[in-house]
């Protein structure tokens, strides 16, 4: 720093020469602030790394039923024809199970590969004794091989992708190696469909009312607005308890489907997809309202005035001018709310997601499980392999959310109206 030595001013002695420490402290704190940002980036990276690490890796696999015993005339099970595989199935699998498989899809219609898959899953039943994370599997392979040879004789060391196409298409199962997320995925989709069906019209209607019709000097409207803002901050588990008491218990005749004679009469209760969807609808309603309000508010008043000036009614103005202009914002807000709802776990656990459900949901009155609930249940189990499939399920969930949010961005750009 150059000094101004042409100083003729006595006042200069009145100021301490503190510029160097001030500049130094300025630089240090800039470092602190930047470092905080880096910590956030690191946290997100650690999260992704951790999940991916769990979803792929080496495993010590043992067949419950040794494959070799299934060989026919020296032909190993992998080489056998479709007919031979069918014979194996009928011989080794319980009749009830065979019936179930046949109802799902007759053996005659399945390809050889599919039959082989079924045989492996139901007859051979490979089990993982121990699994290792991805980074170890790639970097410490030797050490793992040694450990495998020492502690897990009788098993073979295989690289397993817990996240695989079959993982997505297989139904839920009590056995980790056989489990898939199909049941949960369908449950999530059904639930969300119901949520949007109820929350979107009510949310949009409320937003239109508050922005276009309501006189904010009147007390009732201020109360409604404050109320919505407060509801947005209520913990999601409280919504679960509300849903439990109202939809599951009080409205049981409706939500269980009994009044429509849908659903199995013996086990009918209110813990259905309908209850779940309605509960989530209440949860996201404040979010949709607030987002839509902002979108509607952003439409310039000049547009409305032009419409009124031509003699249009209020509803005509809203329907023909305001809503189309606000549409991108409304859509984005709705999709963000859907993302939030898909990830919600606590309220649905309180309502009573099924812990043992293996059948795909068939309608709003089915018992349900959702993707995040599967993750919760699998994470809570102590065995290694359940962690692995939990990680795989997390990846499916994240991919679903990513797709949804990307769609939101695309829709927003596509529907942007220039006004």
């Amino acid at each position: 720093m150059s000094t101004f030595d042409v100083s003729t001013r006595q006042e200069d002695e009145q100021f301490a020469d503190n510029r160097a420490p001030r500049h130094r402290s300025s630089r240090i704190w800039l470092g602190v602030f930047a470092a905080s940002t880096i910590v956030c980036i690191l946290a997100l990276s650690a999260l992704m790394y951790n999940v991916i690490n769990g979803a792929f890796g080496l495993a010590a696999i043992e067949d419950s039923l040794d494959r070799a015993t299934l060989a026919v005339d020296g032909v190993s099970i992998e080489e056998q024809s479709a007919d031979q595989l069918q014979a194996v199935l009928r011989e080794h699998v319980r009749p009830a199970m065979v019936r179930r498989l046949e109802t799902e899809r007759p053996f005659a219609e399945r390809s050889r590969e599919q039959l082989l898959g079924v045989v492996l899953e139901t007859v051979v039943q490979p089990r993982a004794e121990r699994t290792w994370p991805l980074d170890d599997s790639l970097l410490r392979r030797r050490a793992i091989e040694a450990e495998h040879a020492a502690d897990f004789p009788g098993t073979r060391l295989e690289f397993v992708s817990w996240l695989s196409p079959s993982f997505v298409s297989r139904p839920q199962s009590g056995v980790a190696e056989n489990a898939g997320v199909r049941t949960a995925l369908l449950g999530s989709l059904w639930t969300i469909a119901i949520t949007v069906l109820f929350a979107f019209p009510f949310g949009l209607g409320a937003a239109v009312y508050l922005e276009e019709y309501a006189d904010h000097r009147r007390r009732i409207n201020r109360v409604i607005q404050t109320n919505i803002n407060n509801l947005a901050g209520v913990p999601s588990i409280i919504y679960g308890m509300l849903g439990l008491a109202i939809f599951v218990r009080a409205f049981e005749p409706f939500t269980s489907g009994a009044f429509m004679s849908a659903g199995d009469a013996t086990t009918a209760n209110g813990r259905t997809i309908l209850s779940a969807g309605l509960t989530l609808a209440l949860l996201v309603l404040p979010l949709i309202i607030i987002n839509s309000q902002e979108a509607i508010r952003a439409v310039p008043s000049s547009l409305r005035q032009a419409s009124f000036g031509l003699g249009a009614t209020r509803w005509q103005t809203i329907w023909n001018h305001v809503l189309p202009a606000a549409l991108p914002g409304i859509l984005t807000g709705t999709i963000l709310s859907i993302s939030r709802a898909i990830g919600e776990t606590a309220p649905l656990v309180v309502i009573g997601a099924s812990t043992a459900i293996f059948v795909d949901p068939s309608g709003p009155f089915s018992k349900f499980t959702t993707l995040p609930i599967q993750v919760y249940q699998w994470t809570s189990r102590p065995q290694d392999e359940f962690r692995n499939i939990a990680a795989a399920a997390i990846l499916v969930l994240l991919i679903l959310l990513l797709t949804l949010n990307a769609t939101a961005v695309v829709l927003r750009n596509r529907f942007s109206v220039r006004y």
Partner: protein, 273 residues
């Protein structure tokens, strides 16, 4: 140095202050925002303990030139300057110069009063405190408020928020705040344009009192204000390529009664601007 400046100035005006009487001096300064040249080739002296007014039609770069004197343009990422701005013979745009110190010595009062949302006392004391003032802050606050002709009006309510004052009082508070860091030069960017005529008059009277202690450079679009309140005037105009340039500089009386450049005369007589 004195000879060359005088020589440069002969082409355009009369009676420039002598070199040793200069507080600031701009030499051949061009200011760019990105690729756009906003101000072209300005050479301008600022006399010590005098009031220099920068006048001209709107958009001709007067504020940009003013803000170049205390490196406020640095806050705009695309702004750059070539040429020299000399403070006591030192170019304040030299790479090793600390802009923070420049701004303590060359203070600024803005167009719209912008006191901090702190008490009146804290408003005045803040700048001095962070610059490490070693004396008594209370005495400094009183002295600055007195110099800014605000002490009598606020002496009983130093703890009140600075925002509780009227517009004219807020502007004088901003002046007091600037004075408290003991600058040599005070730059004023249209300080009265947001004020009513009575408040404006008070500020103009204040400027005359402050002149004996500080050097003042004021941008104003109000010609009458420049004519009655300043000692030297610089008239800027806008060129065809939309850059601002200095047309004429001289003692105010001379410039207004006997302008050398026809463009100056046109502006003063109101034919444009």
């Amino acid at each position: 140095m004195a000879v060359s400046i005088a020589a440069q100035m002969v082409t355009r005006r009369v009676d420039a202050p002598a070199a040793e009487d200069l507080a600031l001096e701009m030499r051949g300064v061009n200011i760019y925002y990105g690729d756009f040249r906003a101000v072209a080739d300005v050479t301008l002296p600022i006399a010590r303990h005098e009031i220099t007014a920068l006048i001209g039609p709107s958009g001709c770069g007067k504020s940009t030139v003013l803000r170049a004197f205390n490196r406020m343009n640095d806050l705009i990422p695309t702004a750059r300057l070539d040429g020299q701005v000399l403070y006591h013979g030192h170019n304040i745009y030299a790479p090793d110069v600390d802009a923070v110190e420049v701004r303590r010595r060359i203070g600024m009062v803005f167009q719209k009063p912008n006191p901090f949302p702190k008490s009146i006392r804290d408003n005045v004391a803040w700048g001095a405190r962070i610059n490490g003032y070693k004396g008594s802050l209370d005495e400094l606050v009183e002295a600055s408020l007195r110099q800014a002709a605000l002490w009598d009006e606020v002496k009983d309510k130093l703890g009140d928020s600075g925002l509780s004052l009227s517009g004219g009082q807020q502007q004088r508070l901003c002046i007091a705040r600037t004075i408290a860091v003991r600058p040599e030069i005070i730059l004023m960017d249209e300080p009265c344009s947001a004020l009513d005529p009575i408040a404006t008059l008070k500020i103009e009277e204040l400027m005359q009192q402050l002149k004996s202690l500080y050097t003042i450079v004021i941008v104003t679009h109000n010609m009458q204000q420049a004519a009655r309140a300043s000692d030297f005037t610089a008239f800027f105009n806008m060129g065809e390529a939309r850059y601002g340039y200095l047309v004429e500089y001289g003692p105010t009386n001379d410039l207004f009664t006997n302008p050398k450049d026809p463009r100056t005369e046109d502006y003063i007589t109101g034919r444009f601007g």
